[in-house]
Subunit: 666 residues, 2 copies
């Protein structure tokens, strides 16, 4: 590689960094061993020349993009099968490097994502041992996806309409889509890529409905890839993001599959059509929680990408001339810019940290479940729901803020910020719609409130309620612990008010569900407040713990980020603090002053901190955020790749504009 | 036209509407005459068959999309030249129907937009009468754009680097781009479409810089469309939105133009190179204000599109089963959904209403300016800056909220919500970056605060400050007027605090601009608070006035929307209210109750209210929002247009997937 000149401003920023970037890289990765492993994998995959595009994907047509993503996806598929990416280091936050690296190489989502992410895991967890062996032995050439969502129903699973009716005569299930709304809609890879899928359908046997169950269904011929008779499958069309995910629709016209294609690890249907219920149907429930848990770490990573781009750009970009005799300052020196960006950086750390804690909680609960202890599942579920909701929404907002902070250039696809937004904003809706998630947690909070009112003890994550219900209000202190207490007091107050509204409506004669609906704005507010209390507490506690294990200079930086996060949110929610704690106007002024101090303290390390996310240029995919800071040159180089720039005059001039000019002359 | 069956839910919604939709349509249009005129134009343009696409644009490649938009743009160009769209009705909000209709037909932005929107208007306002006659007489076949922004500089105009150096020997200007950052970047139509542009450049004559001036520059040959020698021009590449705007870059290599190509209505350069300064350079300043003023109404319109889509979809979509024995309710019946959507509807009305008031203020100020009275320009400028900033950001947030409220389907391009977001979110940055705009207004507010402190009288829009600085605090009342007073008290309090921080830093020895920067987070907060006070006051006042001119049933609806807007924001900003007014917790509870009541009151009219935006399906361009509510059928019909669905097996199977499967088998 030839010597690349790094932008002078970035060189200076890196020189003045007060901590060891390498040390923070290891921390972000979860250990030095992980860092080394990651770098090895990156090096291997990113050196595959065939994975590089000559023409950036954004210039291609919808169809060409798909074909190109299959081309690259197949290369990665082989790599994955060779196990190179599978030998992933032991991570403690639930996401693997595969995702990150594939993301960077494909730039968007590969049509094979759900094969590895959902199809194989579901077979592993819900097919019986015999089925697993059978399907592996037969060596069926399966490329699969997971088909659950329909045109008419998403998060509300019970409403799914696809039916699987058992026919004891032939020992088959008849899969059917009774209406247009019953069509499967959204599964990645479903449209043109896969030949199999797991179909979630309403199971009917002996005339009775037993709810949603999974079935392995072949939809295309292995040799010809033609859709099989009775199958209607295709592309759902372009979306805001996920352009290369090949999301599809799928309809069944009384399509028959063998009985043994029902995934029978849990519930079963016997030859004669007898339904045998799973001993424990909460086990399948675990998968849903699993995905929501991993989303917290996923969005932390995407936010790290966005923050890296925006912070580096802000260090390179100079603008305006507040002082006539001085050069234009770096925009990173504007406090309003720091206000926009540092919270994004801190939020990425918060979500990664809390995501790891959540992941370890999840693995403990699942281990307990395997031993028959389900006690902690409801709490974990409540926690995963509200954290999924709040983290996905906050990350989405922060990514847009990073984009806005890059001005007009952030609007360029080549900045990669629009594509990152497309990925992150999807998490707000998928795997459990935002509001529905908050209301799920609210059900748990209402129960906990009732228990607390009855003097019963509460599970750890909501135990704070007991304290603040007793004391009535929070005695404010301008310390991190005081702020955390404030958030807990706010959550308690909001839960209490939502419950009172709910009970009041019930008392006045309303049906419980109507009362619930009438109180639902307060309930989602309570649920959000609970999530914020958990995020603040766990981020701060974890950072306190971690700080004792790292060098003092790094501990200072981590503590500043955590404190910034607490102060930012305390100020954002000052109205709530005023309502539910003894905070005064003077306290708020002092929070504001401390917040401004923290911005100034973080400023000199800002570039170093995002460098420590250690995202390679090939994975960052951004003209604005590359390590060398050659922003303007890269913007121009990328623009020159536009096929429109390959010819001096576009044919549309001769076809349309010239005739127009001639006509106008007459 | 054959009979189209309208979705039953929508039929019912329309039946229970308590007001005359037609009457509200006329109000939205600004009079029945305008409605009729609009419908006539729509009918004419939308009946041009050639404007309809067989394959939706989103499926095409970047290049194909451009070519298709030129094709359609040329048809519209002829229509515009024939004057059919130009005979626009007398509007009172600064936007013409052209924009709306073109928007719908092109779905995105036409490459000719800046020809009509900036190029011709700039010639008309800044070329001397002789120049105007000359250019029209010569009959130059000009298609033009307006080139101001550069790679290195956007909102900060003084930083522009393109130079125009006068050479008295040849009586020419030499236009030059000294660095890569000096390249023009962003102008719509610049890349492949136009042959002329207005170039804003630093004027040098007799060795002296006289700042930014406009020049008419031919960049392509009229006959061949080849870029002229010394010109480097091309496409900047794909963006988040504006896919068909053909945004371009432009660089000059000592490119010469005749002296008379400087636009000389205001400043001039004589033959010998003598610079003659404009008598009044504030006149050019008016254009900038003009564009910002129109953005308020523009985003109101785009928000109306988004709200129409989301409200109709919420009426059609059924989900979940809170009560086991009842059918799934319309999601519009969930209070959380009303909470998401009705504020979007109310905000569109607020921005349209305030936008009209702003437009009439603008026209008055400009008329005064023509008579030499510049007194009101600073106030108008301050007003336009903060309203542009707050309205563009709020609209952007509301559009995303509408999209989120449509769940997964809102993520489909065919919902049109991603495209509307692409258009609206661009307004946050263009024509004055959001934070810069707020800081511009802050300068005015700091001046006003100083004047008020000295006992001087203030201009009307900031006069409230005198009252609240005197009284110290606001005595809260739970009435619309009380809420407006609350917002004014908040704005006053925040302005005061920002000023105190600023003066404190100056006192402690800081340079004024450093003190400004250190206080800038507070300054933007003050500026935003001021904008909110103006929005609430003017919306409420205007609705009060309008209500006396309409039927009582419509007056009720308008008042509900305005009250909802006030209550929503009072609750959002309750922390500020607690800090700067005498509001109590009980007042806040009662605001919350009233807010929930208003949601319930608006609910039965929701579909009628969005119907009254009267946006034709061809302009709404949404599978989810069409008048007939055939949501699922349209989603499927649109998907079927995907070129990927035209063949049962994509070639990538044979090329990539099959070899993979064979390899995997081995």
């Amino acid at each position: 590689m030839s010597e690349v000149k790094v932008n002078e401003d970035l060189v200076k920023e890196r020189q003045k960094c007060s901590f060891d970037v390498e040390e923070l890289i290891h921390l972000v990765d979860g250990g030095k061993h992980n860092t080394l492993e990651r770098k090895k994998i990156e090096q291997y995959v990113l050196s595959i020349k065939e994975l590089k595009d000559e023409v950036p994907e954004e210039y291609l047509s919808h169809k060409e993009r798909y074909e190109n993503s299959v081309r690259k996806g197949c290369i990665l598929f082989m790599v994955l099968m060779k196990g190179i990416l599978e030998r992933k280091p032991s991570r403690n936050d639930g996401i693997s490097y595969n995702y990150k690296i594939i993301n960077g190489v494909i730039k968007d989502i590969t049509p094979f994502m759900l094969h590895f992410g959902m199809f194989l895991p579901t077979l592993a967890s819900q097919a019986s041992p015999e089925q697993q062996q059978e399907w592996l032995k037969k060596g069926i050439q399966m490329i699969g996806t997971y088909a659950q969502t329909e045109l008419g129903h998403g998060t509300f699973l019970r409403g799914l309409e696809t039916t699987a009716t058992y026919d004891a005569d032939t020992e088959e299930f008849v899969i059917h889509s009774p209406k247009v709304t019953s069509y499967k809609w959204w599964p990645g890879g479903l449209a043109q890529t896969v030949n199999h899928c797991i179909v979630m359908a309403q199971l009917y046997t002996k005339g009775k409905n037993h709810g949603i169950h999974p079935f392995l269904v072949q939809i295309r011929d292995i040799e010809t890839h033609m859709p099989l008779p009775g199958i209607k499958v295709g592309d759902i069309g372009p979306k805001l993001g996920f352009q290369t995910a090949n999301n599809g629709f799928l309809g069944f016209d009384n399509y028959r599959i063998p009985r043994m294609n029902m995934l029978m690890k849990n519930s079963q249907v016997l030859k004669d059509g007898t339904y045998v219920k799973a001993k424990n149907d909460k086990l399948t429930y675990g998968t849903m929680v699993f995905v929501r848990v991993t989303i917290v770490a996923d969005v932390a990573y995407e936010l790290a990408r966005a923050a890296t781009i925006a912070v580096r750009y802000a260090a390179v970009r100079h603008q305006s001339k507040p002082k006539p005799n001085e050069p234009e300052p770096q925009i990173l020196d504007y406090v309003t810019q720091q206000h926009k960006l540092f919270i994004a950086v801190a939020t990425s750390h918060a979500f990664r940290t809390v995501g790891r804690w959540l992941w370890s909680t999840y693995t403990k609960v699942i281990a307990d479940m395997r031993h028959g202890n389900m006690d902690q599942l409801p709490e974990l579920h409540a926690l995963a729901c509200c954290l999924k909701a709040v983290c996905s929404k906050d990350a989405s907002t922060c990514v847009e803020q990073c984009r806005f902070a890059c001005g007009g250039h952030g609007y360029m696809q080549s900045s990669n910020l629009p594509i990152i937004y497309g990925i992150v904003t999807a998490t707000v809706t998928y795997e459990g719609e935002h509001t529905v998630m908050l209301l799920q947690t609210a059900r748990y909070l209402v129960k906990a409130y009732k228990q607390a009112s009855e003097g019963k003890s509460l599970t750890p994550t909501v135990a704070y309620m007991t304290k603040y219900l007793k004391s009535g209000s929070h005695y404010w202190q301008n310390t991190p612990e005081g702020i955390i207490g404030g958030f807990q007091a706010v959550a308690t107050g909001k839960i209490k008010e939502a419950c009172e509204s709910l009970f009041q409506h019930v008392k006045s004669g309303k049906d419980y569900e109507d009362a619930w609906n009438l109180s639902s704005v307060r309930l989602i507010n309570a649920s959000e407040a609970h999530a914020r209390a958990v995020l603040c507490e766990m981020f701060w506690k974890e950072i306190q713990r971690i700080s004792t294990t790292v060098s003092p200079s790094l501990a200072i930086v981590l503590t500043q980020l955590a404190e910034l996060y607490l102060n930012y949110w305390a100020l954002e929610k000052r109205g709530d603090m005023l309502m539910y704690s003894t905070i005064t106007k003077e306290d708020i002024s002092s929070l504001q002053r401390r917040y401004e101090e923290l911005l100034a303290l973080i400023r000199p390390n800002a570039v170093g901190i995002v460098d420590a996310f250690d995202i390679r240029d090939e994975i960052l995919c951004s003209t604005l955020g590359a390590y060398d800071g050659r922003v303007y040159e890269r913007l121009m180089e990328e623009a020159m790749k536009s096929p429109l720039n390959k010819e001096p005059v576009n044919q549309s001039f001769h076809k349309y504009i010239k005739p127009l000019l001639i006509q106008a002359k007459l």
